[in-house]
Symmetry: C2
Subunit: 345 residues, 2 copies
DNA sequence: TCCCGGCTCGTTAGCGCAAACATTCGCGTG
DNA sequence: CACGCGAATGTTTGCGCTAACGAGCCGGGA
C-alpha cells in the first residue's frame, strides 16, 4: 500500500479515473480515451464521460500518466543567473514557447558557474523525469560540463559556443559587434576602443572577435582589450582610465550596463557624448533609450532565440537527430544619440 | 502494458530498482531503504547496495515515487512577467531557497494578467502534481483570481495585497515610500510630487499610500498623483510636463526606470538634479548607482522575500495552518546624489 | 534452557494510468 | 438471414516505487 489518499480541498477524496468511469457507467479505459483520443469514442459516450469529469472535478494524475507513458510534458531549463537581462529574457521566451505547446518548464538557476554546477543542474532535472533540457549558460567553461553528458540526451544548448556536442541556438555576437564597429568607423572615427565582457563568456568573446575583425578589415590595429564584468561599475572604472586621453573618440562596450558606467565617467571628466566620444553598447535593455544620451546599441532578439531553441528541442525529443546543428539569430544595430562624427571631422 | 522501455543514453535499458537489488543480492525494498532511510540498513548491506547503484548508474524514477508517496518535491511558481527586475529577483531567490531544500521549481510566467490567467497558471501546475504553489503577482486583480481557489491549497502569495485568502509575504512599500518622502522633506523641500506606478499594482498603491501618509503627516496636501507604467518612457513624459514648473523641487518616482526617464527630461529642460530638483526612485536596480546623477532610491530585499515565502510554503505543505498570515520585509532607503537641499534654502 | 524484544530484511499489495489485446456490437453484404 | 468486418468498449497487465506488515535472527535475562 502507499500514498495516504490525498484529499480534495473540500475534504473529500480526490476523484480518480475509476470514479469518473463509475459515474459515467463506462470502464476506466474509456475515460482515458475520452481524455487522450476523443475521436475514438462515440460522441454520446464522450458527453457522458465529460459530464462526470466536470461533476467530480476530475483531473488526471500526472505522475501516473508519466509512469505509464514515459513522457512527462516537462522541459528542464538550466540557466545562469536569471536576474541578468539576457538570461531572464531567454528563459521567459522559452517558457512562453513551451506553454503554447502544453509543456511545463522546470528551472534550475545557477548563481555560480563551473563544470560541476551545470552537471548537477542537469542531473536534478533528469531526476524529475523531464522530457528534454535546455542549458542557458553562455560560458566557455559550460562546454566542458556539457561534454561530460551522454551525447544523446535530448538537450539544446542556448547561447553556447562552438565545440559543444549538442545543437546550439545562439545570437551572432560577432556580427552584431562588427555592425557596431563599422558604424563607428563609417562616421569617421580613426579607431574604436573596446571594453570586453568577462573572459569566460561566449557572448564576450564573440563581441570581441567581431570588434577585432571589423577593425582589422579596416586596416586598424586591435590590441587585447580590457575586460569588465558586465556591471555599470566596471564600465565606470574603465571610463575613468580613458577619459583623459584625447585620442579616444569611440568606445564599444560589450553591454549596455557597462556603457552606462562609461557614459557617467566621461561626463564627469567633462567629455561630451557624442561630441568628444561616441559610445556603443550591446543588448538594448529597455532603459537604453533613456541613457544620457540615448544609447546606440545592438539589440538581441531573445524571443526568437527562445522559440528556436524550443523547436529544436522538440525535434530532438521526437527523435530527430540534429547533432551539433547550430542556429544563429542575427542581432540588429539600433542607432540613437550616443554616436556621431568625431570632433574636427 | 505501457511505456516503451526507455533506453539509457548508451543504448541499454535504464536500470531500475530491481536491477540494483539483483546486483547487490538484496530485495528491492532494501534498495529503497538505502536511498530513503539509510540508518535502517546495516552499513555493510548499505555499501553493497550503493556500489550497485553506482555501477549501474541507477537513478530513481521520480514519477513512480510520486505515485507511491503522493509527494513530488516540486514547487510551482506562477509569476507575472519575469523579465522585470522585481519578479525576476523574487523568482530567483525562491528557486535558490527551494534548491537548498531539495525542491525543484516549475514556473509559469504570465505576460498578461487577468483573473483567468492566474487560475490557469495554478491549474497547470496542479496538473503537474506540485507539492505547493507560489503566486508572484503584485496586482490588485490577482486577488480576485486567488479567491476562486480552494482556500486550503498549499499556496503562498508573494507581494500580494491584503484581502487574499492565503498567507502573504510582501515588501512594505508604504514604509519604504514614507522613508523616501520624509528624507526629501527633511532636506527642506516644501512638497514632493509623485509619479505612481500602474493603478492595478499593489506595489504602486502601497508606494502612493506611503507618499501620501508622509506628506499629510507633515501637513502638506497630497493630490491624486499621475500614474506611469514602470517604463523609463513614462517617467520621461512626466518629466517633460513638470520640468517647466519652478515650484517643483522634489519628485518621488515609484520605480528606478521611471526615475531614469525623469532625470533625462529634467536635464533636457536644463534643470539640475539635485540642484533644482531632487529625485528619488524605488527598487535600487544594479545600475541606479550610475544614473546621472547616482540615484537615491529604496532598496528591496528580494532574497529575504524569497526565503520567507519558501519557508511559509513549506509550513503549509507540512500542514501548518497559517491562514492569512502576513510577513513583511522592510525596504531600506539608499541615499545617493540625486537628492539635496532645495535651492535657496 | 527457553523466551522475548529489537534489529534487519523480505513479501505483498497497491498508487493511477494507458498499451496491448480481447470482446462485443452494429450494420452492410451476399 | 447468416456472415464478416470495422468501430466502440472492456479486461488484463505492468510502469517503478514504497507503506505496511511479517519473518528470521541475534543476544540477554529469567
Amino acid at each position: 500500500m502507499a500514498a495516504e489518499s490525498p484529499e480534495a480541498p473540500d475534504g473529500r477524496r480526490l476523484a480518480v479515473m475509476e470514479d469518473v468511469a463509475a459515474m459515467a457507467g463506462v470502464s476506466a479505459m474509456t475515460v482515458s480515451r475520452v481524455l487522450n483520443a476523443p475521436e475514438k469514442v462515440r460522441p454520446q459516450t464522450r458527453a457522458r464521460v465529460m459530464a462526470a469529469v466536470r461533476a467530480l472535478d476530475y483531473r488526471p494524475n500526472s505522475a501516473a500518466r508519466v509512469l505509464a507513458t514515459g513522457r512527462s510534458g516537462v522541459l528542464g531549463v538550466v540557466s545562469f543567473d536569471t536576474t541578468l537581462y539576457g538570461p531572464a529574457s531567454t528563459v521567459f521566451s522559452i517558457e512562453q514557447a513551451a506553454r503554447e505547446h502544453d509543456y511545463t518548464v522546470s528551472i534550475v538557476s545557477l548563481s555560480s558557474l563551473n563544470r560541476r554546477s551545470i552537471g548537477e543542474g542537469v542531473e536534478r532535472l533528469r531526476g524529475q523525469s523531464v522530457d528534454g533540457i535546455m542549458v542557458v549558460a553562455p560560458h566557455e567553461s559550460a562546454a566542458d560540463g556539457l561534454k561530460e553528458l551522454p551525447a544523446d540526451t535530448p538537450l539544446v544548448a542556448v547561447g553556447a559556443g562552438a565545440d559543444v556536442p549538442f545543437p546550439v541556438v545562439a545570437v551572432d555576437h560577432r556580427a552584431g559587434a562588427e555592425r557596431a564597429v563599422r558604424h563607428l568607423l563609417s562616421l569617421g572615427h580613426e579607431s574604436v576602443l573596446h571594453l570586453a565582457g568577462p573572459a569566460d563568456w561566449v557572448d564576450a568573446s564573440g563581441r570581441t572577435d567581431g570588434w577585432r575583425a571589423a577593425l582589422e578589415a579596416a586596416g586598424r590595429s586591435a590590441p587585447v582589450p580590457p575586460a569588465g564584468d558586465w556591471s555599470a561599475r566596471s564600465g565606470y572604472e574603465y571610463g575613468r582610465q580613458i577619459a583623459a586621453d584625447p585620442e579616444v573618440t569611440a568606445v564599444f562596450a560589450a553591454n549596455d550596463a557597462m556603457a552606462l558606467g562609461l557614459l557617467r565617467a566621461l561626463r564627469e571628466a567633462g567629455r561630451e557624448v557624442p561630441g568628444d566620444v561616441s559610445v556603443v553598447g550591446f543588448d538594448d535593455v529597455p532603459e537604453a533609450a533613456y541613457f544620457p544620451p540615448p544609447l546606440t546599441t545592438v539589440r538581441q532578439n531573445f524571443g526568437e532565440v527562445g522559440r528556436r531553441a524550443f523547436d529544436l528541442l522538440l525535434d530532438r525529443i521526437g527523435g530527430v537527430s540534429a547533432e551539433r546543428s547550430r542556429r544563429v539569430v542575427e542581432p540588429e544595430l539600433v542607432v540613437r544619440e550616443s554616436t556621431g562624427v568625431p570632433r574636427g571631422t
